[in-house]
Amino acid sequence: MNDLVATVVRGLGNGSIYALLALGFVIVYKSMRVISFAQPAFMMVGGLLVSYLVLSMNFFLAVVVALLLTGLLGAGVERLALRPMIGKPVFVIAIITLGVDIVIRTVVNSFIGVDIRQMGDPWGLKQLAVGGVTIDQRHLATLVTTLVVVAALFAFYRWSRTGLAMRAASSDQEVAQAQGVSVGAVFALSWALAAMLAGLAGVFLSTGIGLEQNLWLTALKALPVIILGGLDSLGGAVVAGLAIGVVEALVGNYGGSLSPVFGGDFFLVVPYLLMLLVLLVRPYGLFGTREVERI
């Protein structure tokens, strides 16, 4: 029983990282109708900046500064590489983000090198025992931070003027523009927000275990998450992110009997299998809006 609780908490910790990443994807999708494949790069940038900044300042301050810088980078990328492409097919824009990802990640990798960079976070691999259940502090910290960030994000969308503008631009760009919403600013802000969320995910992902080059693959796990939750559903992203984290942890822990057939690291592909299964039944994910087709 204790083992189960510990596994679920670990799943929730990893799942909140997926949720943060997925939120970034969904925010960009809502504003531009494009899946941004550049998210893994922003995730790495966030982690990398913290690992350098922490050498000269407090961890929490380093996170704030790093996220602001990552956000700026996101907005900059949008302005340089994405703005000229407005009105082009989404496929083309998606591939541009792939190109952006390759470029940024190569630069990041040259800074990481072959070492594992430590975050200098206060949690490390320390554990916490609550009523016989041992859990990593970092998983708990990730979960709590994610919940706070998600609550703030939802409040921002729901009650702030800018949030309203972003929702308006997402539902109809031309009408929003006619009402005085600067759609360009909305794009830039969406990219900045998405980059910051990815950066935060990068920081938490590398707390304890450290940042290394191959970590970017984790960011791609947010793709099954957003497909499961529905590309345009913020709530769906959070729910599906946590769910996939938990399922992955459960399979990782209890799927040992499967390992002779599927391999010991079978849990790594569980998100993708789950995605295929759900899509067979619901082509727009669990919470996504069905596309309206006009003839």
Partner: protein, 366 residues
Amino acid sequence: MSGRLATSYGQDMALLNTPAKRWWTLVLVVAAVALPFVLEDDLLVVLATAFVAAIGAIGLNIVTGYAGQVSLGHAFFLAIGAYTAAALSGDPDSTRLIGFGITSLPVWLLAAGLVAGLAGLIVAPLAARLRGLYLAVVTLGLVFIGEHVFKHWRDLTGGVGVGRPAAVPELFGLEFAVDGAMFTKAQKLYLLMFVLLVIFGVLARNLVRSRIGRALAAVRDRDLAAEVIGVDVTRYKMIAFAVSSFYAGVAGALLYVMIGFVEPGSFNLALSVQYIAMILVGGVATISGSVLGALFITLLPRLTRELPAVLPFVSSSSTAGGITVFQVEAILYGLLIIGFLIFEPRGLFGIWIRIRTYWKAWPFSH
């Protein structure tokens, strides 16, 4: 513009519809056949790899360029082709790996294509239900699942870091992968791959200018409208996936013949992206564009390797300071994708068309 009057549809759609095209094709073919006697062997191997990549790129262009179904799963189908061929032509006495000892090139080549095509057909119903980026992500999932399976199926693939020998090309007793009395290994492989590229290129060109090609374009441009005018959208999406995967299977089977070795870790997302880059840089929905793009992307590493001689701040080893060629290559590759999409969406093929139009009307360019 110098006009050309076509008096029938068949005449308009003919493969080599102008004398200029006929002459240039002849010149290109003669030049390509003459190359192995001029160039050095290592360059020939790179070119042969590029020809094989071109076959794969043509396949991706059929499903993504012509039918408009974005697929990031090309690496998966390449892997299926590579392993089908490797297993068929593998050593039957090996205790470590599956092998059937069928080294005849046409047999394993067709089998690789058919098995991959079948896999494409299995995936296609899922694709028929999904649109746009949902499909892109699902095909991406396919790559990850495939990579996992191939890494763990040791009897077939040899496992991570170990790998297995690639398919053995042999045709009517003629071995391609060994040096012969008349030709070297590189020369033979180059000519073999060139002939295969011409065959598969012409086949694809014929496919896309036929009824099927027009149906695919209709599905791409507006699937609802296509359905209204009587195109069976699901059926044509399945055809597109099957044909594309067939090409991928063939390319996968041949791709590792040059190095003679397949490693299961190589069939990852980066490989899929490489093929996407080929068709984008070359030209979406053109066969000759796919070939141009494949040549360009495959020759790119070879070009960047010459950089340290020209630019002193680029170093060729990863231990020395400064920027390494590998980093330059990766960045160039990303920038090329972005640059082509922003400035020349029709790719190299588009540049060629612009040059051609300019000279057609020269010296009266307007």
